[in-house]
Every structure is written in structure tokens, then in C-alpha cells.
Symmetry: D2
Subunit: 146 residues, 4 copies
């Protein structure tokens, strides 16, 4: 059952327009957990020639989105607190790992860690969702409407 | 003098690879202030069919980057705390307005407010930079190396 | 009706054990708004001889608590993001002003600003609550159990 | 040498006015690390009868202060982001554990975790300091002024 949810989310992510635009790849998903990868391309440079914060954050947000929706019900992002440790070089491959820190019936909290190709810490994030009771809409189709 | 700095930053932003990729447009710049605009395109959709958090954040980050570099010296982002109020619809035009809340010789703090085409609040952000002593690199060329 | 809620909260704050311990005084309350005052006493000094962050935060939290409960239903703090601007001197009188930034049926967001006796900015805070449907317990008694 | 710094900080904390007021006890200190304990007393109750957020934050801040000053140079708090997981009961003994996540010559980042007497998670915090070059003032006396 869980595996069905994970597969459906993975399919949805591989079709996600923004994930395609940014080259975000879902590597692993589990209960309250996600690992997502992104290459820092020259198109992601900011005015100082390093990776734009928006690109790094997009990677963080994707891992957060997958981990917080992994229970099969819709999670809505409330708050994200990002601390930048080092600017990643253009060309490196970044990985964001999201892990669940706590969860109640209505909210849940995640820690997201970003590292570069040398396993150096790039950014950390503490993030919060509101949890709806509704099953993820794209799972309902699968279930025959349940 | 200040106007020269603003013009140089505006030129740099219009050439910025990531700003082009996301369609970020700098509307206004002043001391500690920036207004940036972005259309939410279908390419920015997430798995739930609303705007991806990474797209909204990219807009926030651009306004923050311009406002914090507006004094002509290099500002390095340390921390950003984003609270999402409502998900913007695909097709709307978002505006992010960054204003300086406080500034010392080594750090500065900004408030960034995102609104949609109906002037409804979409997200708020509290953000912090470390301020280097160095003049922005692309201004040094202009100055003849000063 | 609203005035009754404000009076009941004000009474409750004046009896609150922690408010007494810290010398927190509620100056003003309105819908989504609170102004609270605290003298920085010598007992609040940290190891560096300036005001302990915990004392400043206690003042922020009190203003946040009052503003977020001002609608008469129970608000539960989810997240608080504090940025320190300047350390207040021992002996000064601090004021924290909490204002509602946004509110839905289930969450609400507040901005809290702390200033000292010279009206200098000391700290800012962005804070989030989850809103229960329940009326504040101490209002129910008053209402004859409604 | 390090042990001397730890001992001096521990002495300073045991004399700290605010630590005495709140009953904060430093249990352990190491490089970038601190463990601090506090009993939630009836004096720490808020208007809802659970522990005031200011009391929990005071404990977090003490662990953060000790961990960030443990390298012997002065650290100044810039930003703290707290997420509340569960309200602690009056009478429980809380423990805050601060660990260094990253550190450069000018900034450092800490994660602080608060648990109650049953080892249940109460709150988490992501916190940032600016690092001065100056040695902690109370160490200078010891060193004979170096």
C-alpha cells in the first residue's frame, strides 16, 4: 500500500513542470523522508556568479514537498527557515535530504540538509506544514475515488 | 553616484542567467529597497497544480539580493524565514517588495512582502545578510578599479 | 462583546504567573494587536552583562500570545523567528508591539517589534499560530458555559 | 587550555543572574556543544496553564549561548527560529541540547533540541551567531590580560 503511494508521488514528481524546469530528480522516498538531486547549471547563476538562492531553495522545497506528502494526505507548507552555509559552485551536483522531525494529526516539521558533490554542507532548513485530512488528489483517481 | 550604483545593479540583473530563466523583472531599486515582478507560468506548477514554492522563493530572493546589495558593497545571504499565506494561481503576476528593517556595518535585515495581481498577500519573509567591506565586483570595473 | 474578551484576557494576563515573574505589563489590546511593556532588570543579565535573550523573547512571546488569542478562540504557537538588532541596556523599558499580518480559519501570522526607551529597534519577530475552534477556556466560565 | 575555557564559562553561568532567576543548570559543555537543564515551575505558567514560551526559550537560549561561546571568543546571537512541538507540563524537567551545525570565522549555526523528563520532543531551534574576534571578556582577566 505504502509502496503504491511512493510510486504515485514519484511519477507525479517526474511529470512536475517545475521539477523539469530545474532538473530536480527524486532519488529516494520513504515515510517522512525524501532525497532529491539537482545539477547547478550556468543558467542558475546570480549577479555574483554563484548559484542563485532561488535554485538552492527550489531543491530544498522539492525534498520537503515529497517528504511531507509521503503519508498520502495533502500537506500545505506554512513556514520555511533556511540558513546558507556556503555558496555552491556552478557545475556541482547538489543533494537535499528531508527528514521528519515531528508529526501530529494537523502539523509536521521537517529538517532539510543540502550537500554538494564533495559532501560539503551548503544549506540547512527547518520547515513546517499544515496537514489536511484529504488524501492526495492524484491518489484518489488511482483508488477508484475512495 | 548612488544612481550609478542602481543602474549598474539593474543592468546586472537584466543579464542575470537565473532572472532570465524565471522571468524576474526589476521594477524599482533604491537605498535598501527593491521591487521585483514575476509571472507565474505553467512551467512553475508543483505536483498539486499550484505555484511551486521554489518559484515564489526565487522572486523573494531576487528582491532581497537587490535591496541588500543596493548600498554598493557585497551582501551575503545568511538566513531567510518565509511564511506562506496563500498559494498564487498559475497565470497571475507576483510582486515582491523588499525593505530594509535594520543595518549595521556587518549585518542587515530585510522584510520581503509578496502580493499577487489582486494585491492579495501571498507570502512574507524576514531575511538577514552579512555585509562584506568589498565593493560589488562589477562596480569596481566601472570605477577603474577603485 | 469584543470589549468583554479584551477585559477577560487583560485580567488573565495580570494574574499570569510568568508575567508576574518577568514584570510583563499589558498596555493595550485590540483585534489581532497587543502592546506589552517590560523593564530590563539586573536579574535579567546574561554572562556578557547585557539583557538575556530569554528575557527579550519572553516579552515578545507575551505580546504574541495576547494578539493571537484576542479573537476569543485558542491560538497555539507553532513557530517564532526572532532577529536581534541591538542588545538592550539593563534598566531600560522595552515595549513589544504585536500586529496581525494574515489570518485564515486555521492559522495566523504576527509581526512583533521590540523597541527600547529611546525608541531604538531591539528585535523583530515573525510568528505563526495554529487556531483551534475552541473558545478560550477562561471565557467559557464567564459565558455561563457556552 | 580548552578545559580552562569550559570551566570559566561554567563558573560564569552559575553566577549568571538570569540563569539563577530561571533555575537554569549547565550539565555539560564541549566544543560547540552544551546541555542545560530547567525545571518547569508553577511560576512559569502562561494564561492557558501550560509552560510559557518565554521559559522554554530561555532554556534554549542558555544552551545556545554556552555552545556558541565555547570556542573562547565572543559570539553574538543574530537569529533564532523556534518550532514548538508539544507544551511541557508544569513540574517536568526540561533539557536543551545545543550542537554546532556549521562554523566559519565570522558566523556559526547551532541546532537546539528540547526534551522533557519522558524524553519526548518539546521544541526545536535553528540559531545563528556572528563571531567576534575578541576573546570572551571574563577569560581575559584570567589570562592576565592577553
Amino acid at each position: 500500500m505504502r509502496q503504491e503511494v511512493y510510486k504515485a508521488i514519484a511519477r507525479k514528481v517526474s511529470d512536475e513542470p517545475f521539477a523539469r524546469m530545474m532538473g530536480l530528480k527524486l532519488i529516494s522516498i520513504d515515510a517522512g523522508y525524501a532525497l532529491v538531486e539537482m545539477n547547478v547549471t550556468p543558467e542558475m547563476a546570480n549577479i555574483q556568479g554563484t548559484s542563485h538562492g532561488g535554485a538552492i531553495f527550489s531543491l530544498i522545497d522539492e525534498a520537503f514537498e515529497v517528504a511531507s506528502n509521503s503519508h498520502g494526505t495533502t500537506a500545505v507548507a506554512l513556514n520555511m527557515n533556511v540558513t546558507y552555509v556556503a555558496p555552491p559552485l556552478i557545475g556541482t551536483c547538489l543533494r537535499a535530504e528531508a527528514s521528519e522531525v515531528s508529526r501530529t494529526s494537523r502539523t509536521a516539521q521537517y529538517s532539510i540538509i543540502v550537500k554538494d558533490g564533495n559532501n560539503s554542507l551548503i544549506a540547512t532548513c527547518q520547515a513546517l506544514v499544515y496537514r489536511k485530512k484529504d488524501r492526495l488528489p492524484f491518489l484518489q483517481d488511482q483508488d477508484g475515488g475512495s
